[in-house]
Symmetry: C2
Subunit: 339 residues, 2 copies
DNA sequence: GCATGGCACTCGCCGACCCGGAGTGCTAAT
DNA sequence: ATTAGCACTCCGGGTCGGCGAGTGCCATGC
């Protein structure tokens, strides 16, 4: 018995099942793939694969269906990554390049990926904590309110309103603005605390409280992991016809509406920016996602990813194609943000 | 024959059908409602109602189901608005009051409404064109780029990057910022063009090109109807079990993913801010929404609404409850924005 | 003239039944 | 180790009948 052939059989089963959505039997397997052996032989291999937990049969005498473990093996052994066609690449590049600002870039990316994979796409905004700051702006609003606008080098803009106890002294704002910007410009969040503390010392004692409050807001805003934003598109693909998946659609939609769940999905994956991570079925923590797989990778930043992007679909999805699409969009997205 | 009773019958049919989701027959009708007549009498009325197009029977001998026209009549005659319970009101108020910024307010509103109605909720961001400007900020980025940040009195923030041909003269930015703000502060978009033109004249000729470009960006940004933003929540409610609606779910999800469709949905409704508008089934232009109804109203602004908020569900929805919820959320939302 | 009771009729739904086909596992032979 | 043959299982689809809900109509009563 050849282990090699068994893996071939597994691969063939996955491929056929993904395509037809129906349990695949030994006969059609030899017909559609050049396996060079008879159905009976395949049956023996299938029995072994089932014993090992890679495939299962829904009913006593139906064909076989891959299990999560089977998909896992399939994905791990997946060597052939189909590259996208070059018109496809150009289309992606062009579409992303037309974006006018960060919101637009992210929006286009998520729609694009959803379109390419015909699945749900998820994109995380470039992380604030890992971005560098480009500019801080202070805008007095009325007497006792101060609007703090934070602009990062990825083009992300965050705003916070600050309620003050006492009216703002006129002279403080311009000075604070100048010093703040001098202190933070070009720095990443991680490197911020000390320069900011230093800067605060430069003010006269009576202005300190205000300065400290502003500093705190800036730090809080940048630190809030909660503020990580995630956008999603293509939910309608979940309702693709001809699949019992439509029974499962409710919990999936519910999961996808929870920012928290989306975020965990994206961040619980391996930290290396190079590779593409695949989570299959029950490997996802969330119960509602037990029948879905998620393919994700990082984008932006060198070495350490700025944020992540991924595609979610039924476990019976086209893994090779999805991986290729996710990787491609991530690459062009990184390029846009860097340029 | 009493027309009054016929309307009662129609009302009873709608109420029962909304509750049970099943065609309602003459017998159960007299059992569950105190109509004071026999099933046979009801049958006559039903025949008349069917003749008039208010109800229909799915199969020759099944109960009756309201048509779009029937729902329309029902809604138009709907006098009893059930007010929300006072704990409910308090909960709404509290939940919205906890919001930290505009994004948060809108986000909370849409989730809240979705929760209350157990349907899809849609909220439009306060319109830029109708908002007043609070502040304009100019941030030079590098030598040839200028970031324009626009802040409205509703707390909305828009940003645009401007690519310039020539490096920016240092002295221009502060002056421009000051004059711009003097020109626009507190004004609504509609009233902007002249003051801006006037202001541009105050600059020496060589700075005019830059000034004009900035002015143009501001006007364009505020004018772009495209930039109207709409957020949606509660898509999972579409997949509520026990309804053939799950067959129709795909086109609905597709429609809801199109910002354009959402916007049309919200803006094609009557312009009066006071009332709640209801669109039933085919009254919605979009084909995918033929089996849904949409309940919406305006919020913010006095007299003329700043933006709109609404709830979308199957035509067989609880109109009275939905109308009450939409109205309640809109009211509190307006209050928050005004305060 | 409207309401009502009675009655025949129409269908849709459900369970029973049956059959064909696909697929398997096993065994014996190569 | 592979393969052909074969008996067995079981799902899916199709047919059939009976049941029940509901209707429309007619004759009757107030």
């Amino acid at each position: 018995m050849s282990d090699d052939r068994r893996l071939d059989v597994l691969r063939a089963i996955v491929e056929d099942y993904v395509q037809t959505q129906e349990p695949v039997g030994s006969r059609v397997l030899v017909e559609r793939h050049a396996l060079g052996v008879s159905p009976a032989t395949i049956r023996n291999d299938m029995a072994a694969l089932e014993e090992a937990g890679f495939i299962a049969q829904p009913h006593t005498s139906a064909g076989r269906v891959p299990t999560d473990k089977g998909y896992r093996m399939f994905v791990d052994r997946l060597s052939t990554i189909k590259p996208l066609s070059s018109p496809e690449r150009r289309a992606i590049q062009q579409f992303l390049a037309d974006a006018v600002d960060l919101d637009d870039v992210v929006d286009r990316s998520v729609r694009l990926l959803s379109q390419l994979t015909q699945q749900v796409a998820v994109v995380q905004y470039p992380s604030l904590r890992r971005s560098a700051l480009r500019h801080l702006e202070l805008v007095p609003v009325g007497d006792t309110r101060l609007l703090v606008v934070i602009i990062t080098d990825t083009g992300r803009v965050e705003q916070r309103t600050l309620e003050l106890d006492a009216p703002i002294a006129e002279h403080v704002v311009p000075e604070l603005r100048a010093r703040l910007n001098a202190a933070v410009a070009g720095r990443r969040l991680v490197d911020l605390p000390e320069p900011l503390e230093q800067m605060a010392l430069a003010f006269v004692a009576e202005d300190r409280p205000l300065v400290h409050r502003v500093v705190r807001v800036v730090e809080d805003t940048l630190a809030e992991a909660t503020e990580e934003r995630v956008v999603m598109a293509g939910a309608s693909h979940l309702a693709r016809s001809g699949t019992d998946f439509s029974q499962t659609i409710r919990p999936v939609l519910e999961a996808l509406e929870e920012q928290v769940v989306l975020l965990r999905l994206l961040t619980e994956m391996a930290e290396d920016t190079a590779g593409v991570t695949v989570r299959i079925g029950h490997e996802n923590q969330h119960a509602g996602l037990a029948e879905t797989s998620f393919v994700a990778t990082g984008y932006g930043g060198d070495g350490e990813a700025l944020a992540r992007i991924g595609s979610l679909g039924p476990t019976r999805m086209d893994y090779a194609g999805t991986i290729a699409s996710v990787r491609a969009v991530a690459r062009y997205l990184s390029r846009i943000l860097a340029g």
